[in-house]
Symmetry: C2
């Protein structure tokens, strides 16, 4: 339908997450019609990111220098590690501006069906971080999905024998949410997690 | 929040049409975690497209060779030109597999509010195509928006004195659509365009 060069461009954009055929076409024609400098900037940003961005040696987050700014920050509490699935989760937690501990990014969750076992996750570097006695608490902030829960359980069993406190973030009715529209599992969690006022 | 290199990448994706902050983040992390070869392919496709894709000398469509495959195709009926707003419209028409005439891409529609007058559209090359007597009919297939209608009217007035037949594609209830949910303007057009059965 389109010229081969344009078709190739559309196919590249179609591979991106959340981008279907129509969006890919729209993006491709946008790229074709924008100033060349902008396209160059885009390619440069991609190339630079692919070249410079590495895993932080410590927390395994994506960063442009290792250790990352969070791990290198002496003001943060090195005795607490919050375990998350993805780098995006770190960004979400940081937006809260309350948590002062460190992170550990697993880069996924256990999912035997997809062939993701413990060896596919960044679990070994986490164990290494617990080898001295600095860390007192590990907070499991994996997603409340089957995979996220299984990962939290697995890690809990692995870490408890090391003498570290393992906690799980609370699940319940989101603030501003409506009880009426909460699903049963969320409601069950909210009840289980109730606290004295 | 993110490392500067990652932030820069997110900003580049955020500039694309239909991509908000969240989607841009998702795409950026996808790009960071995909094989380097894939990122290289993507940059190459962008660079190649920006370098090779030009306007067809004849129909002004985006193409990687001029004249484009449609204009160069002797099997097509050179006596009919279908005028559309964008290259995507050509692709949509071609999907129909019925139209055997040629196209002319205006690259926009008249919109005085946005500073788009006749000089900003590819109207001069269209007039040039009508200078000999090959073309008998010009079909206006601009969008049924205020801008598209104004453009069709403007071109109609410009072309009729040249002795060419100017037609407008039909507007009405889309096939598979529901009368109940059609807006008044569409319904009005459907009534106006009624034909004897």
């Amino acid at each position: 339908m389109h010229a081969p060069t344009i078709e190739k461009l559309i196919e590249q954009f179609e591979k991106l997450p959340g981008i279907g055929r129509k969006s890919a076409e729209r993006i491709a024609f946008h790229v074709l019609q924008m100033p060349k400098k902008y396209a160059d900037d885009m390619c440069e940003a991609i190339a630079e990111a692919k070249e410079k961005v590495v895993f932080c040696d410590c927390c395994q987050n994506l960063t442009d220098r290792s250790p990352c700014t969070i791990c290198a920050d002496d003001a943060r509490d090195a005795s607490v590690i919050c375990v998350v699935e993805t780098p995006k989760d770190v960004a979400a937690m940081e937006k809260m501006r309350e948590y002062k501990g460190l992170y550990h990014v697993l880069h996924g969750a256990l999912s035997p069906m997809d062939g993701i076992g413990p060896d596919e996750l960044k679990i070994a570097p986490l164990l290494k971080r617990l080898s001295d006695d600095t860390v007192r608490e590990v907070i499991m902030a994996t997603n409340p999905t089957v995979q996220g829960e299984a990962t939290a359980m697995y890690l809990c069993k692995l870490l408890k024998p090391l003498g570290v406190k393992v906690t799980r973030i609370a699940h319940g009715i989101p603030v501003g949410g409506d009880l009426e529209y909460a699903d049963e599992v969320t409601l069950l969690r909210a009840m289980e997690g109730r606290r004295e006022m």
